[in-house]
Assembly symmetry: C2
Homo-oligomer: 308 residues x 2
């Protein structure tokens, strides 16, 4: 039996980056401490905040909902609400919507399910059939659109997503490798923009593996299936490299994060925040005249008109 390096109890995880085994109690303590550390570091949660949790029902967002409720649920000056976007992906989304309903009911968190079908007249599955763009293009644009709109309409001041250290570091490195510093700058935490609910990522300091272990240890319902449309070949190459690099040189995911964070002040200078307009059609914030959601929607509707 492997023992906790701190207390000798049965270990539940080996933290390679720290070269130590931890028991359930010490792992949970350490995990929660790093979540709080990230939250404080970037002032993710402030007095009076109403926080919308982007709850897909996947492992990250379910664990995020649980942890935020555990660490901050007792505070009278904070409010939490969960939003689940139902893109309409047959076979994949329904079970996670169920999980989202279950966990929010258990924790007593207000829950809103918002669907592509209700808002755009078609599911993602239908969009993919009609349109020529990649599924992730439609999904990315419309999901973010609905998350932001719903959170804002509910009076939320923050929108929390389940992105973990692995996710963030992949995106950071990917943008760096692609020479896309502007996109790198979009990862700067906590930028205020009119009409956009500020996004926060409380899991940015914890490994994906730790999120899963934390969730399993707490018996959280977990759907580990992957979206059938998921297809990111470049990102997969980068992910595999980081995985191998971290295996050989533990802690490098943190190093990459530190590199990025060191650059934040100058990235802010290089890419000052642009004023957002209100979309001429739907009123949602956009750097252009018409927002990307309206552009895509028009394309899809015109194709639908032609085919039907």
């Amino acid at each position: 039996m492997l023992k906790c390096d701190l207390c000798g109890r049965r270990a539940v995880i080996y933290q390679r980056f720290a070269n130590r085994h931890l028991c359930k109690r010490h792992f949970v303590e350490h995990f929660e401490r790093r979540v709080k550390y990230a939250i404080k570091k970037f002032n993710m949660i402030e007095k009076g905040d109403k926080i919308a949790i982007a709850l897909s029902g996947g492992k990250d967002s379910v664990t995020l909902t649980y942890v935020l409720h555990k660490l901050y649920g007792h505070r009278n000056d904070l409010e939490f609400v969960a939003i689940t976007i139902d893109e309409g992906i047959e076979g994949y989304r329904p079970p996670t919507v169920k999980i989202a309903k279950k966990i929010t009911k258990e924790l007593g968190i207000e829950h809103h399910v918002v669907s592509f079908k209700d808002n755009f007249g078609m599911t993602l599955d239908e969009m993919v059939k009609i349109g020529e763009k990649k599924p992730c293009t439609y999904c990315g644009v419309f999901r973010k659109y609905l998350l932001n709109k719903t959170a804002r309409e509910l009076g939320c001041t923050k929108l929390a997503t389940g992105h973990n250290l692995d996710d963030e570091v992949q995106t950071i490195l990917l943008n760096f490798l692609q020479g896309d510093i502007a996109r790198l700058a979009r990862l700067i935490p906590q930028r205020v923009q009119e009409g956009l609910v500020m996004r926060i990522k409380p899991f940015r300091e914890v490994y994906e593996k730790e999120v899963v272990v934390y969730g399993l240890l707490h018996g959280l319902p977990m759907d580990l299936n992957e979206c059938p449309y998921s297809h990111f070949p470049v990102r997969d190459v980068v992910r595999d490299f980081i995985y191998n690099f971290e295996e050989k040189y533990p802690g490098r995911k943190f190093s990459i994060m530190r590199s990025f964070e060191a650059l934040i002040p100058c990235l802010k200078q290089m890419f000052p925040q642009i004023e957002l307009n209100k979309c001429e059609r739907c009123g949602e914030p956009t750097p252009k005249k018409v927002c990307q959601a309206c552009v895509l929607l028009e394309e899809l509707r015109s194709k639908l008109g032609k085919t039907s």
Copy 2:
């Protein structure tokens, strides 16, 4: 027979990043154009410069010597001189010193061979036997020391090294992955520092493979052996990743270089140049009181005193 995409003559190289084959003439033209582009971009060569070429006798520095002579050798307002550091590595260095002598003689370039033995009283082979540090630590410190000192004493205003795109991109990514932004900043081209001859890297825009092909096409003497002390496990992992990434997504070495270049203004702000002192012992420039060469030398000499 593969044909040049520009003129139909026999191709000598396939440029993956541009997805094209080139004949000797078009490849050479394109290669030289990119060397000149890099030189102009960073004002590497200016009127009145006396340029020391760090000529190890390896493929990069031999080709660099040839190219600089070809492109700028006719200019009356410029002077070139080559410096070869003989670290004293049995079996490895003597043949490259010969190559360096040969190429400089052929081109009519003044050539200086400067040895560890003459300057420090021992060869690198001897240092490695006596000392406890890695060979590359001794070599790196003492080689740079002698290159800079010799170039300055010869009245040189620039010191050109054969670092190619592959070398630079490896170092950039390595530092980024290690979270070492301060070291990343050291790669900023053309920083003026009192007592330090400004280093220039005219090959920063050409692939290693292209340097080799260029050298072979011109019948340049080429030693492709690797230093017996060469041992960079982390760098090798990074190099292999970049190689594979470039194979899948050609041109990404350029992208990484562009990412770095985009960050140069920030890095300059973050790491303003520090004033250098004169080493208390040898008078060479150093950020500390005593330079690293003098520190290492004292260590080695005290060990030598004990053992003999």
